[in-house]
Symmetry: C2
Subunit: 683 residues, 2 copies
């Protein structure tokens, strides 16, 4: 018969024969604290075997029931039982800080903090602290290992943190440890069917409460994935080291923050600032040299297979091609031009093998200095491109040459790439040991920060592709501007493509971690071999507002933009830096409507995206300033627009006068979207 019991309590020996072994029901809450508004409460308990656990409730309703805390080590007894709480500290903080660029100019950080100090009751007497920061919209917690006599270096085999969700849920997730890094279509399954998932993982509980589980400030540690234990309980699974402990750290140190954003609805998840608030403030000082902006690129034709990265008759990064892109950028007020395939190293099979890449040696047909001068004369700068092919150590060996070359050629932004299968990053240790790392192990978390810090010395910003996942580090290192880290537009060039729901999935999953360089704006709606893209033309415009990135690409070719001057105007107008952001509506994987206020004007921009079905929603324009009249420049799906037909290009562009308090109806076609610019016109 079906067994309903949970994982059995196990009693390996009579010495464990204590009453109600580990039965949390009988456990006294030994520490607890609540959010500033009192709605979210975290409680910590220790059972009769000295096993600590935590729980999270919201409005008195459990969200996370008693869930384990602790560690396995490769060379020492685990810290998981025989622990006692020796003290508990609490604090509160309510501050605001400004983003140098971003979705919001000002961020409020209002939280209460509780730190629980655990000490082993055994002879080892090792100590571990767990600090909870409780916000009105969620919780972050991390472990701290203080300096202590009986643990000098932590060789972590596994982190035992669990997340026992109190209710069944629908989960949107990407599988972990498969061959292709983060670049999967999202799975939507019951929480109980989650296998091993990357974070962020987003859940809609049976009660309707939305929860996003992720981590913040991933520094010198291995990225956390989560795996099903049983029922609706997930546990941490750290990314492996290359035949080493998953994490090796000398004490004292703290882990990244494990984060739970908790909201009544999907839009509330996006509006949370927990991810940024749990990162350290800017460590780079003056970052006025970090320049958000749009870029075009010698790129889409390669993705489509019409041009090549490698040298030869189809080589894309030629002086002639790049000049045309510079002209196009200058003519349209686009400050940056990306060039891929400009350097030596692309000939042959570079996938997973970037050891031939030289980021200071242009190909013969690419006149680096001439183009740099020409770009400067047009007020444009080139975006450098460093495709490592996964050979991370080889990249580190040429940091200074590469970044000096970029600086000397007027570049402000570098797009990096790590194109290799998961688990195939090439690491070469100083002693010559060659290892194969995952994209998100401890060593890579440090590699990426080495890139960021080295680039900062040259006043260069980084846009990482095939990256380690974002955990809000742009706050601490503002020159780490953007990342890929999910299926971007490029997949629309290839068989299958991204389904219409993909963007509505991204908004409430991947985008919760930070900016994404999705490379929107393919107005031709055509991939390789004439493949149609699963999108209307209006949706391509909406992406500029919906998918935030401070470096935002106009991904299509100048020739194609010339064919769509009407829609292209929105791409010219839309900024990449914002003073304010509001999510007006949305459901995970179904639709989302976001408005953002330009950081340098009174104008607002709206983007709305749907999925494969037609949908009409009405939004109130309450975000507009009172007393002002705005000209709404509307780019909406034509009445016959449909991503499945040759009417995917059908669009209506119209103007309307609107004011705060007005409503606007958004009629999204199948695979459709809508973009609106609200131009403030005096009082």
């Amino acid at each position: 018969m079906k067994l309903l019991a949970p994982l059995a309590l196990s009693l390996a020996a009579p010495l464990l024969l204590a009453p109600a072994l580990g039965q949390s029901a009988d456990q006294p809450v030994v520490a607890s604290a609540s959010s500033p508004d009192g709605r979210i409460t975290v409680s910590v308990t220790v059972d009769n075997e000295g096993r600590p656990s935590y729980a999270v409730a919201r409005g008195g309703k459990p969200v996370i029931t008693d869930s384990r805390l602790g560690f396995l080590f490769t060379d020492a007894p685990k810290m998981e039982r025989n622990l006692a709480i020796v003290d508990t500290d609490t604090a509160e903080s309510d501050t605001t800080w400004n983003q140098p660029y971003g979705e919001w100019r000002t961020i409020r950080d209002n939280h209460k903090e509780m730190t629980v100090r655990f000490r082993e009751k055994t002879d080892l007497k090792r100590e571990m602290l767990v600090t909870f920061r409780i916000f009105d919209d969620g919780v972050g917690f991390r472990y701290t290992f203080p300096k202590q006599p009986n643990l000098t270096t932590a060789n972590i085999a596994e982190e035992l943190t669990q997340f026992a969700f109190a209710e069944p849920a629908t989960a949107w997730w990407n599988t972990a440890f498969e061959w292709n890094r983060e670049e999967y279509l999202f799975q939507e399954t019951p929480l109980s069917e989650v296998g091993t998932a990357q974070t962020p993982i987003t859940m809609k509980l049976a009660s309707g409460t939305h929860v996003a589980l992720h981590e913040a400030a991933l520094v010198d540690y291995s990225a956390m994935n989560v795996a099903k234990v049983q029922g609706n309980t997930l546990k941490a699974v750290l990314t492996p080291g290359a035949g080493r402990p998953k994490v090796t750290r000398d004490l004292p140190f703290s882990t990244p923050w494990r984060t739970l954003i908790i909201s009544d609805d999907a839009p509330g998840l996006y509006m949370s600032h927990i991810m940024l608030n749990l990162n350290e403030p800017n460590k780079l000082g003056d970052v006025s040299w970090v320049k958000p902006g749009k870029f075009v690129g010698v790129w889409w034709n390669m993705i489509k297979g019409e041009w090549s990265w490698a040298r030869g008759p189809k080589h894309g990064a030629t002086t002639g091609n790049v000049r045309r892109y510079i002209d196009f950028a200058a003519a349209n007020g686009i400050p940056h031009v990306l060039v891929e395939g400009w350097n030596i190293g692309w000939d042959g099979n570079w996938f997973g093998n970037g050891n031939a890449m030289d980021f200071a040696r242009p190909t013969e047909d690419f006149d680096a200095s001439g183009l740099a001068a020409y770009a400067r004369s047009k007020g444009v700068s080139l975006v450098g491109h460093h495709e490592t092919g996964g050979s991370a150590s080889h990249y580190e060996s040429q940091f200074d040459r590469a970044f000096a070359f970029s600086r000397d050629h007027g570049q402000k932004i570098i797009k990096t790439g790590y194109v290799t299968d998961a688990g195939q990053i090439e690491r070469v240790d100083p002693d010559g040991t060659r290892l194969r790392e995952w994209h998100e192990g401890q060593w890579m978390s440090n590699h990426h920060l080495r890139v960021i810090k080295a680039a900062a010395k040259y006043k260069l910003s980084i846009d990482t592709h095939e990256p380690i996942k974002d955990t809000g580090l742009r706050r601490t290192y503002p020159n780490w501007m953007s990342r890929e880290g999910a299926r971007g537009m490029e997949y629309n060039a290839w068989p299958g493509g991204n389904p219409p729901e993909h963007v509505a999935n991204l908004v409430f999953t991947r985008m919760l971690s930070g900016p994404m360089d999705y490379t929107p704006g393919v107005l031709s709606l055509t991939g390789s071999e004439g493949r149609p893209i699963n999108s209307t033309i209006a949706k391509q415009l909406a992406l500029y507002v919906v998918l935030y990135s401070p470096v935002q690409m106009a991904a299509d070719t100048p020739e194609n933009y010339a064919r769509y001057p009407g829609p292209f105007k929105f791409i010219r107008d839309v900024p990449a830096d914002w003073a304010d952001t509001r999510v007006l509506n949305g459901e995970v994987g179904d639709y989302a409507t976001i408005v953002r206020k330009d950081r340098h004007s009174e104008d607002w921009y709206l983007g709305s995206v749907g999925d494969e079905i037609a949908r009409t929603t009405t939004v109130k324009l309450d975000f507009l300033s009172p007393g002002k009249t705005y000209t709404a420049e509307i780019y909406r799906d034509g009445p016959d627009a449909d991503y499945r037909t040759d009417k995917r290009h059908s669009i209506v562009i119209e103007k309307r006068q609107v004011r705060k308090g007005d409503s606007m109806t958004l009629a999204l076609a199948p695979g459709g979207g809508q973009a609106v610019r609200f131009v403030a016109s005096g009082k």
Copy 2:
């Protein structure tokens, strides 16, 4: 909207832009072979990226659809793509061999074999062979790495083997990598809800086909667990090393066999010989010194907390107690007496810390030589007990002392124990490095074989508790007689206990791996603090037939057996070694009826167990020899028997004359069972 697409094919770069990337539908079958009866077919394909996969069909119906093969290494590029088949060999074999002891005297090994040699198309040109053995009732396959220039040592980060089940299924499984090793209650969930599971994992597919997934011949390798990838696809997850690669092997070597038993019903799973047939023949030569048999033990009173392992007023292993147990064994024809807590090292907390254990130093109140002599005089031998507390290296340091002591005291069997939390086995390397291993990592797979080989030198057999899982190695090393490796009777002494369905789960999951020392026969049906056991008294008798072990315990105390002379007669009669075995009926987790023929007489024994509901089944006695009359000594639940009431002791003991072709109705009470001895009487 719900996303129905499977894991997306990912195109990380245009060089991968081949048609129908990895789409198995378009893949030609490049190698295939079938079982002797032609019903089961294995096919191997390679996709356009050179990714090999295998599939299994039965009666033309897919059971496993195209599933990945390959490896990740910590220090070299993975072997998973860019592979080509260079040759394929086939062979067939039909032999029989005899078990020195076991469930069957003679085992037939009839299979066809196909070996596919893959070679990398890249410069490395590394080679990997996959050998499939296809039986009428399932498939085993393993990888072989031949000696080759570009791979001398394999440092395996992960085995990429997947199992893509063609249908939804119900799965019975135990979670892996949780704190308590194998000792969990079974989870029954949809296959899609399996998290990370130990093997064997048993599945009933939607079509009714039963499949058990496990491995055979786990030697010098890390045990395989399986984790959900997506939908109904599982993948191998090897047990970690202690901050080392999961497996390190010099070439050439072969992996354990990955096994799939495929059957129309649950009984068919148990009747398979694949596990034994995929192990090497006996390497120990004459093993007449391996003596199957029953044993009693100074044990249950410790489990109940009435006696102690440690010295002191409650110490169980005293000369006086042991003499009484020897008398009891001798009086009842039971050849072995287990004594736990007889040695120095139990004082203090030995859980996970066995470094004080000395297996050649008895406690003061245990007269080792006197008791050995006394036992010998009674025709009984003591079963030694070596509880390592997980300190495996400490155990290895005293092998010869410990085993010589056992031999010199007339012992024939040693029960070993590894009582510590998962991941907490203490390993000390020759250079003094201290590491914490999982119970089932590569190092432990070798540790256990070191125990077995060292014990064999002293003609000692081993019964391992908290073991590495069984993979059929008793064929190769017959002195590795039995293991625990699941929740045994002891859990019935503790809060919760084993639910009535537990045994019916064991038969079709854990028992597929090999014998289990469950320690049946607690006729008092009473655990610690008077806790009632979830069983009728008749079911306790049935366990001796249903749960095979060549070392089978009479787990209750002599005092208790004295209170139940009627039922105890069956325990005295039932053998522990069999000539033949048949599973008459059963459903996973519901019920099972097994008959076995005594290896040393014409008698048959029947055991039937149910779950928490009353159930009546009728079995045909076709297993009996024609023309013979048998006296059926029946031990059945009384009409009012119920594990939930004080009628759990209600039993009817009666005799009946039966012959081949007769039927017998088995009426099982809630939590009940039935045992029958068929005594052959003349012609």
